[in-house]
């Protein structure tokens, strides 16, 4: 915050004046104490500037610029009529960065939250040859109103075209991509029924049969008639604590259904039926190294769940013994968005979870494999100049130096007036002003230690907003990760990467046997510049969002990638020859040199 100039600084040492002198000053000259000089003045303290001990990075060149208008993304988020404090409107809506027509350029899908009677509808934007986004919502089949929460993208029928799944307050919807920008809703036919308040969701192939299954994380059993006055007695949005949690739902994609797409609800048989909680975030990845996808679910004000795949269609919850249930202080916090990436360069994915402003975000370092250690303090992610209530978050190597940086978007759930924001506030409706907060960027030093560079990135961090969704992707295929942020009752923003960057490589991994769809669950590792880097392919992370499904690598000064290894979702492993930097490549399963075999393969379902 830039209010250092108008507040007195705390003196380095306190005046050692005798007591009588203090009394004299504060009584005889008390009249002056408030007038800008006098004895009492030096004692007044309203410091807001960080102390020298904090790792706030020095000003540097800005990394991002706001390109929303320049690229033609015109989306105003709607939550319907405010004032009733309907809780779902306070949690925002997500976005998807995906290439729905396979033209090699990422497109955008943005959700509305105004309810089924709202004139505001979800919007689909197609990226044109010139990099501009054209609204192609009309006739797409996706231009629907609703209480849209999250979006997940996955090719459910292996036809090579990514399909769209959305969660709403009291239902879910699956849209089949029919090609040429047309989608058709197939929720009922597909057997998907989720009568809860669905939040983040993800496609994964948990049984390794080649068909993408679906996990839906549900929030609380909310009752709209419950009143939740704030501390002043004014109506406010409820938190989760007054409501029972709900169970996540796991849907198995039933293969070979003769041209029909069909899912089976396997929640109970998979062992998820006993896990009722206020779920918000989810990521999928192989935590314990057995090459079967596991699940991490972030619960709001409740322990996290790490669901370890038992390779027989069931999961066991092992967050406690694997160190990711509680934070390093042994406390349960309001866990919201999840970022997954290798913060410290050891080729194991680490986990960052966002929390309330009254708490601290948490960074769990992974290692030894399958076990997590909360390294929040040592990584200094909590040592920021200000704290916000974080939702969307991603690990993204913004400057392509080979170390993923961390981005967090913030916005309150309780009214909290902030003094000011350099670029003002996002919401024109004063109703939301009390909830607006500034977003943050942390630069990674390559060893997993972070420094807050938000004040150098005012395009991204200078405006206060009620931000919720954050998705990352290389929108213009220039090797720099760009970002899309969704904000409650305000315009979505597109941030273009303008950072001074190193070299890069983007790898798309596809499975020809399954319609050449993206290989969700693959682990891609490259060797470049004497360093190994790993990226885990699954677009569902952050909060309510689906990200660019391609693996992005920052290479720093390296101009050549020596080799690439891929562990495919079925557990097999292939090695691919090196490539020159600064290009986008596609690796097809089966076209590399097989170097390993599936661990624990064959169990199947």
């Amino acid at each position: 915050m830039s209010n250092s100039s108008n507040v007195p600084r705390l003196p380095k040492s306190f005046p050692a004046a005798p007591e009588f002198q203090t009394i004299l000053c504060s009584s005889l000259l008390g009249v002056l104490a408030f007038a800008g000089s006098g004895c009492g003045k030096t004692e007044v303290s309203l410091p807001s500037t960080p102390s020298a001990a904090l790792p706030i990075a020095k000003p540097q060149l800005a990394w991002l610029e706001d390109a929303t208008e320049a690229v033609g993304v015109n989306f105003l988020h709607d939550v319907g009529t405010v004032g009733t404090y309907f809780m779902p409107e306070s949690l925002g809506s997500g976005t998807a960065i995906f290439d729905f027509d396979n033209d090699g350029r990422m497109d955008l899908f943005l959700l509305q939250n105004g309810g089924t009677n709202s004139p505001a509808k979800h919007q689909l934007f197609h990226q044109e040859n010139n990099g501009a986004f054209r609204d192609v919502s009309d006739g797409s089949g996706l231009n629907l109103p609703g209480r849209g929460m999250a979006v997940a993208v996955g090719d459910v029928d292996n036809d090579g075209k990514p399909d769209v799944f959305i969660t709403e307050y009291d239902r879910v919807r699956l849209f089949h991509n029919r090609g040429e920008g047309k989608f058709a809703e197939i929720t009922r036919e597909a057997g998907l029924d989720n009568p809860h308040w669905g939040m983040s969701s993800a496609f994964l192939d948990y049984d390794r049969d080649g068909w993408l299954d679906l996990i839906v994380v549900n929030y609380v059993d909310y009752s709209p008639s419950m009143k939740c006055p704030d501390a002043q007695g004014k109506q406010g949005y409820c938190g989760p604590s007054g409501f029972p949690g709900t169970i996540p739902r796991l849907f198995r994609n039933l293969p070979n259904q003769a041209d029909s797409i069909r899912f089976e609800d396997v929640t109970l048989s998979a062992g998820l039926g006993k896990l009722a909680g206020p779920g918000l975030g989810v990521v999928c990845g192989d935590a314990n190294g057995d090459r079967w996808p596991d699940l991490l679910i972030a619960n709001d004000g409740h322990v996290n769940w790490l669901l370890i795949n038992q390779r027989n269609g069931t999961f066991t919850e092992e967050a406690g013994i694997r160190g990711i249930a509680y934070n390093e202080m042994g406390a349960v916090q309001a866990n919201m968005g999840i970022a997954m990436g290798d913060a410290d360069g050891d080729n194991l994915f680490d986990i960052f979870v966002t929390h309330l402003s009254t708490e601290t975000h948490a960074l769990w370092k992974h290692g030894p494999r399958g076990y997590f250690q909360d390294r929040t303090s040592l990584s200094r992610v909590a040592a920021s100049a200000w704290r916000g209530t974080g939702f969307g978050t991603v690990f993204s190597d913004v400057n392509n130096d080979g170390a993923p940086d961390l981005l967090v978007v913030n916005g309150g759930i309780k009214r909290l007036t902030i003094d000011s924001a350099p670029n003002g506030k996002a919401n024109s409706d004063p109703f939301w002003n009390g909830y607006e907060q500034r977003s943050q960027i942390f630069v990674n030093d390559g060893k997993g230690t972070f420094a807050d560079v938000s004040d150098s990135n005012l395009a991204f961090s200078g405006t206060a907003a009620v931000a919720r969704g954050l998705a990352a992707g290389d929108l213009n295929n220039d090797g720099g990760l760009d970002f899309v942020v969704t904000r409650i009752a305000a315009s979505a923003r597109v941030y273009r990467n303008v950072a001074p960057r190193g070299h890069w490589l983007i790898v798309r991994v596809v499975e020809p046997k399954f319609g050449a769809r993206d290989a969700y669950g693959a682990e891609v590792t490259i060797n470049a510049g004497g360093r190994r880097q790993t990226v885990w392919v699954n677009p569902s992370q952050s909060y309510l969002c689906s990200n660019d499904p391609r693996a992005h690598f920052g290479l720093g000064a390296a101009t050549q990638v020596e080799d690439i290894q891929v562990i495919w979702p079925d557990g097999s492993e292939e090695k691919f020859p090196g490539v020159t930097a600064d290009q986008i490549i596609t690796l097809r399963k089966g076209s590399g040199q097989t170097v390993g075999f599936a661990v624990n393969s064959g169990a199947g379902q």
């Binding site: 009249v31 002043q232 406690g320 509680y326 704290r387």
Partner: protein, 459 residues
Amino acid sequence: MSAKSKAKGRSNVQKGMPKATSTAPVHRPWPWWAAFVGLIAVGVLGWQVWRNAAPPAISVNTAGFDPVIAAAIEEARNSIRRAPRSAEARGRMGMVLLAHEVRAEARECFAQASAIAPRDPRWPYLLGLAHLVDTPVAAATNLDRAVRLFPESESMPRLRLADTLVSLGRLEEAETHYRHVRQREPNSPWAGLGLGKIFNARDQAAEATNFLAAATQDLSTRKAAQRLLLNVHQRLGHTNEAERLAQVVAGLPHDKPFPDTLLAEVQRLKTGEAAWIDQADEWIKTSRVNEAAQLLERTLQTYPNSDRAMFFLGRARLRTGDVAGAEAVLTRAITLAPGNIEAQVQLGVTRLRRGRGKEAQPCFRAAIAAKPNLGEAWYNLALSLGGDPGQRAESIAAFREAIRLKPNFIESYLGLAVVLRTEGQKREAAFELRRALSLDPEESLRKKLLEQLELAEQP
């Protein structure tokens, strides 16, 4: 005066002063008297100026506030008007504001109080607390100042500062403070817990375990310390011990709150409908139902149309066994707010308990109409229908809907099985019971399921 100075004085007179005449000097006492009066007048005037020059009391926009809270704030402001130079009055207003989360204005009050009484440690301490929510760096700075002003023997502010520093990743500074407390109070569970956190964060397992030992024995830190120990053992690869501790932690009640006397004083200033209902709810949860009921009755005197207070009073009366009283107050709540889903379900349950299933049904139906995915209402509706042979088909459908909505609620399977068996559908009943048993129910429920299964499997 020394002789030397006297001589010097004389010399000055001789050199610079007008020469004395032979005429005797005229004695004029009135200027001294006038000066004295003048001094008093200036003093009074100065006091007035000083008193009135204090900044006005912080103004707070209380539009939309609970009137009781607004009145409490206004009363605090009036105290400042009466004594503008009183740090106590300004600090008190800050506390009232902080209690009601009016943080920005609370900070201003504490800063003003601190300016008036710079040696009073309470104001920078509370200023620090008011910063904790969103500006922890400023919080740490103010808490640090408070620590320097509090007597050495006071551990509470130092522990609060240390905890804040830990959250900022400033472990070395935090360690100094925890150790300081430990030096004075070797068995301080909070200092032990804090040092345990720091050494756990540094991966120094043996030291962390050592520091946590005392904290695991204290009711204020037991659960947090056990969780940290779990972390430590998990890091060391002691899987069995970690699993054992995970079970221990799951069975422990919440730790008692940190004993912060100043914060407790702030909390006590909470007033108004929401605060009273929250307090009553807390008492209901901790089995102090009579006190809760009394507080809620008093709340209703101030807020006679509060359907929330009525709902909680109904709940409290049910717990005290006053079922008729509960029904009366819940009926009143629904009359005032027919859309109150919680009150509808609670009233339905109350009537069901009194054996009036038919009268309970409209309540559950109203709740379902307002929230169709409310599994609890479907379950209770099914129960209320199950006793009537003419309504068993509807009961079965309601149980099935309850299961669809909450497949983890095992009682629904049991209820469904009973109705199915009563209807002669034994095979279906057995199927549902087996489904329920596969969900790994608690022992008492498992017993009931097995009993029903035995009945269902009888020819």
